[in-house]
């Protein structure tokens, strides 16, 4: 069953938890996109971005976009999490998930 999770948060986004939300037995990959505060843009230095939202409207729009992505790309699940408030540039503005270093090959299930 396709599921969509959308929410606004005020703290660092726990990307491992987000990946866990979309993991499915029927999916062969999970894709993670993480936006960050870009500190250097040419000659301009940005110390922090301050995100503000009309929250009910924002949540509604995030859900709309997620449902559209699920439909267009035949996704088995989609989660969209957006941070609000001041987001300064940080080397690790999010919690990076633990990623296995070695790809595994499938082991056939015993039959019968």
């Amino acid at each position: 069953m396709t599921t969509v999770h959308c929410r606004l948060v005020r703290d660092r986004i726990d990307t491992a938890a987000v990946l866990a939300e979309v993991g499915r037995e029927t999916a062969g990959a999970s894709v993670l996109f993480v936006g960050t505060t870009r500190s250097i843009t040419g000659d301009v230095v940005t110390r922090s971005l301050d995100y503000e939202a009309h929250e009910p409207l924002a949540e509604d729009q995030l859900a709309h976009l997620a449902r559209a992505a699920v439909q267009e790309f035949a996704l088995s699940a989609c989660a969209v999490v957006h941070r609000l408030g001041a987001v300064p540039w940080e080397r690790r503005a999010w919690r990076w998930p633990r990623v296995p270093r070695i790809a595994a090959r499938p082991s056939p299930r015993p039959s019968g």
């Binding site: 936006g35 503000e52 939202a53 009309h54 009910p56 409207l57 509604d60």
Partner: protein, 79 residues
């Protein structure tokens, strides 16, 4: 009367987060003009902002009932 919520750059330009606008009824385009008249500081951003009524984005031709919950969302950038 219509209560108009302001966000981000709009709120900064106005120096407040909301405006009460005298309202006899009309469209979003009419309300856009009424907000600009009530608070000229937001006029430059207003023409590039979108309006939402009761949690839905609306076109300039949409009607605005008295007492509606109106939000003005200024343009955002990123990337």
């Amino acid at each position: 009367m219509v209560r108009v919520g302001l966000f981000a750059g709009m709120a900064e330009a106005a120096g407040r987060r909301g405006l009460d606008v005298a309202w006899q009824g009309g469209t979003v385009a009419d309300l856009r003009a009424a907000v600009a008249a009530a608070c000229p500081a937001v006029a430059p951003l207003l023409s590039r902002s979108v309006f939402a009524i009761d949690g839905r984005y609306v076109a300039d031709t949409a009607g605005v009932p008295a007492g509606a919950d109106v939000a003005v969302i200024p343009p955002v950038s990123g990337g």
